[in-house]
Amino acid sequence: MSREAVINAVVVAGLVLVPLWAVWADEPFTITLATRAVVLALAAVGLNLALGLGGLVSLGHAVFFGIGGYAMGVLASHAQSYTPLMEWPVLIEGTKSMPIIWLVSIVASALVALVIGSVSLRTSGVYFIMITLAFGQMFFFFTISWAAYGGEDGLSIYVRNGFPGLNTLVPIQFYGLCLVVLLVVLVFCSALARSPFGLALNAARQAPERVQAVGLDPFRLRLVAFVISGAITGLAGALFADLARFVSPTMFSWQLSGEIMVFIIIGGVARLFGPVVGAVLFVMLEHWLGGLSDYWHVFLGLLLLGIVLFAKGGLIGVLAGKARAHD
């Protein structure tokens, strides 16, 4: 087993054991924090696919996070007020069922990623960053003025949505559900990185002319990666909204896009568990340092500076060494 695999196993063990300890020690807030970390990690795992493997520096991934959140908010708010979403041409009712909400979140964010990607992926570098950012701001300001769903104030959902066979109101059960989703997505991403698609996408980042010269279209490869990436982040948005039982335009904010990217940089770009390590560390720092000082972001900034200057592979890179091509 490589050193990176050992680190990954330790992280998974921690994600399983710490919340279980919290149940035993009756520390429900620790479970909430862990859920927050796991859900934010999922959002970053989505971005890591585009950023790490595809080299696409998207500063607009909050769009997908927000769409997932609002998919949940809209569906659940109609269900709790017993009003249909629309009556014509077909009757669509709200729902409190997580699997349906997840599906809607994934499909909606994938479609939006397809549109945003079709436009933005024709550019590169700083233009790509700016276009993704611009799309993010469009959604942000749209939801602020979207009075039907709370506008600036957001939308509260009073009871957490349900999942067949689980009581999602019990924190550890909801946590377990989120963790399973994260692990399933990680397994998928791990397979994807080694698959023919992953090989081609990874090469399109390093040598796009070569990829064209062997008969593959870098644009299409990146577009598909962007869509999958957006869909994963969208799913995370739905879970995040269910954790908070609240959605608001801040889910679309560019600060959030930045934070998701920060998780990846802290943990290690293109490393499978990079975003997970980054998100967990971020949530821990936010909690502890945030408790000590209102200026905790200064310390986060110093940490980020240190990593960018001295440890470009992020924490995983520091602990596990350089990535090996055939692992």
Partner: protein
Amino acid sequence: MTEPVLETRAITKSFGALKASDAVSLDLRPGEIHAIIGPNGAGKSTLIGQISGALVPDSGAVFLDGEDVTALPPQVRARKGLARSFQISQLAMEDSVLQNALLGALGAGGSPWRFFRPALSDRPLRERAEAALARVGLTEQAARVTAELSHGQRRLLEVAVALTMAPKVFVMDEPMAGLGTEGSAALTRLLDQLRHEAPILLVEHDMDAVFALADRISVLVYGRVIATGTVEEIRANRAVQDAYLGGET
């Protein structure tokens, strides 16, 4: 006469006031190596760009296997059987040597729209990639990271990637550049065999290699083809001697 596999008909390309290609007409016939020589700035790279699809000519047309491909992007031309190597190696440097060869095999003989099974365990793909590496003598380097290869080994990998595609035409942009004497001798032997699988359009500065390999040579000066002929004809051509060879042969 047999149909040319690759043909340019009076392609012209200008960058501002500079005519980088001026009504260039060339053809490449089955089984031959057609070398393009010319001084720096003669428009060789521009010509390769238009043949491979990276550049679109202002006028004129490019035919691949009898089909007009002038408007097609590089990846479509590659799918139709055009394999090129680059003057400056274009390889996925973080990936292994084998992965780079797999990429070539993937473009020609596989689909990239597969998301679950590892590329390395795709038997047909892998056999194709390994066979190409064996032909250029890189088998023992297969698991190494490409960035660790010597310059010469990278040149060989460029050729290996083209080989995995089993193309109809090879377009090689200075494959010998930066190779030592031994390296170019080995690559010369390899290209000599390759012409029987697919003809080669060879842009090259190494005159020993060109004279040893070429069935025909075209001389490009200031974007124009000033002569096309056999090695002997080109050696004897006054205009070529004046313009390029400088009478040294």
